[in-house]
Amino acid sequence: MPINIDLSQLRIAITGGTSGLGLALVRLLTARGARVAFVARHADAVAQVAAETGACGVVGDVGRKDDIYPIALQVTGNLGGLDVLIHNASSLGPVPLALLADTDCEDFEAALAVNVLGPFRLTKALLGALAASAREGRGAIVITVSSDAAVVAYRSWGAYGASKAALRHMTAIWGEEAGADGIRFVSIDPGDMDTPLHWLAVPDADRSALRRADDAAVEVADALLAALPAACLAGVEG
């Protein structure tokens, strides 16, 4: 991402914004001037990140159906609309990771709720705002954070991998369906990152071999800029 780019025209929502890649994205995009709202479950962490970055914090759990519309209301109410939605929040399923045969149904359901149903519901609730952005020529984009586990069958990553595969495919279908409304959908695999989620999954990993979340955030931001219509990009380059 070019250092001088100014995103002050963009209104961006990020789920899972108090940790890992989501937190790195909130920091990066607010530093570039974007108007950011982020979502996370714990009020204390939300308040802390909001105070640090100036972004608008929304307390909510994308895995809970009843939280979705209150989240959507606060995102669009605070930002006055929405141009970019980044589905970053993820659930591993069982912790520690487990063979599918040893996975509790409830853990699998939790992974599906956060990784598939949550993005489906939140996209649906915010689709009107994104379509309005597209009609105004602002460039409406939905980014989902994917994983190589969505494609490769890794032992003991069953709940996570299956849910991420569903998310990746759903993102592709949304893209087919909503492209004519001017909304673009992008899946990004940021790779294995040195984040709390990865520490939970692989506690004994060599952290020096993992990617820094800040670097992955730059890649996501680059993908975001690449997906913006050319007219919008001309408008945001500072």
């Binding site: 307390v59 519309y69 606060q74 689709l127 705002a129 309005a132 020529g137 909503a178 004519a180 409304d181």
Partner: protein, 351 residues
């Protein structure tokens, strides 16, 4: 939740009424097949606030229901015009709701996690100007968690936000849903697009539709802020230039577009406030047809329809649709009422 009403959405009915009063009865899903290339459909993309807040009048300890009814400053969620009821909720008809305790300037109201202060009582015991304490984000969070959609006794199930947001709902601006928009889903819009029928939106802050109090109801609708995007103004000008018609989805779109009329068939883009009523005396300058719910004489929405058609036609229409079992509440059936006849195929070719 009104899951039952949602499930039979495809079974909902649509009466297409031409300027002579001739009626065609169609399934509502046929909406995607109506209109002609060059026509433009304009919907209201206002999302609906959870504008009913249960709480307590601190000074008396009395329970109240506060219904946010209109913006005092467009888009500022800390200040509202509001209608106050005494104890109870939507399950009691608004006409039968008790008065709130006597409110005075400076009174504090505790509404769940929110605290509000009465800035003024506006000429009626039920009508106040209200100011929430706290910053914008805090107030929006409190509304999102504690507020419920405004609803009326004819729908017994408690409504959730997903029941009152239309498919195209974007930013929270309305106090009650722009309900004609329930007829429009994404497949409908795709159907129009495939046939060269345009789709555009305005954002119009539909206010409270009824208070149950005859004195207050005479003041409705309150002033309603609206925004007309530049793209919508351009699309209307283009439709006009091609001889296409402008079809408004709902009375709120008529209010916004006619309020923003430039007098020559087009509209100006930008922010405005719609005030006053549209009725029999109003000359429509922008809108050619309205897609709306089925309204009855006496409702303010019905009064607006008198700008589209004469009383004889509307009277006959109401009787016919009632006899045919059309449902006349906000989650019910729909009708399309034309101000002038459909253009002929030959007219299209000439255009």
């Amino acid at each position: 939740m009104i899951a039952a009403g949602r499930r039979d959405r495809r079974a909902a009915k649509l009466a297409v009424v031409d300027a002579r009063g001739d009626i065609r009865h169609l399934p509502r899903a046929a909406l995607a097949d109506l209109f002609q290339a060059g026509d433009l459909v304009v919907a209201n993309d206002a999302a609906t606030l959870p504008a009913s807040l249960a709480g307590v009048h601190d000074a008396s300890g009395a329970t109240i229901e506060m219904r946010l009814a209109a913006w005092l400053r467009a888009g500022d969620p800390t200040r509202f015009l509001a209608v106050v009821f005494g104890a109870g909720d939507y399950r009691t008809r608004t006409e039968d709701r008790p008065l709130p305790p006597v409110l005075a300037r400076g009174d504090r109201l505790t509404l769940g996690p929110l605290v509000a202060v009465v800035d003024d009582v506006v000429g009626h015991r039920r009508l106040v100007r209200l100011r929430f304490t706290g910053a914008r984000g805090t107030v929006l969070g409190g509304l999102a968690r504690h507020g419920r959609p405004i609803q009326y006794a004819h729908v017994p199930e408690p409504l959730a936000l997903w029941d009152v947001w239309t498919a195209v709902a974007a930013t929270p601006a309305a106090f009650e849903p722009p309900s004609a928009g329930f007829a429009v889903d994404w497949a409908t819009i795709a159907g129009w697009r495939g046939r060269g029928v345009g789709f555009a939106t305005v954002t119009h802050a539909a206010g409270i539709s009824s208070t149950g109090d005859a004195v207050l109801d005479r003041l409705l609708p309150f002033d309603e802020p609206y925004r007309i995007p530049g793209g919508t103004a351009v699309a209307i000008a283009r439709a006009r230039a091609r001889g296409g018609r402008v079809i408004a989805v709902g009375t709120t779109v008529v209010r916004a577009l006619e309020s923003a009329s430039d007098g020559a068939g087009g509209v100006g883009a930008g922010d405005g406030v719609a005030s006053g009523r549209i009725g029999r005396e109003t000359a429509l300058r922008v809108v050619d047809a309205i897609l709306t719910g089925v309204h009855e004489p006496g409702e303010s929405h019905f009064e607006l329809l008198r700008a589209f058609a004469g009383d004889a036609l509307l009277g006959g229409l109401v009787r016919t649709l009632s006899a045919d079992g059309y449902r006349n509440h906000e989650f019910g059936d729909a009708m399309l009422l034309e101000r002038r006849p459909l253009r002929t195929a030959a007219g299209m070719a000439a255009a």
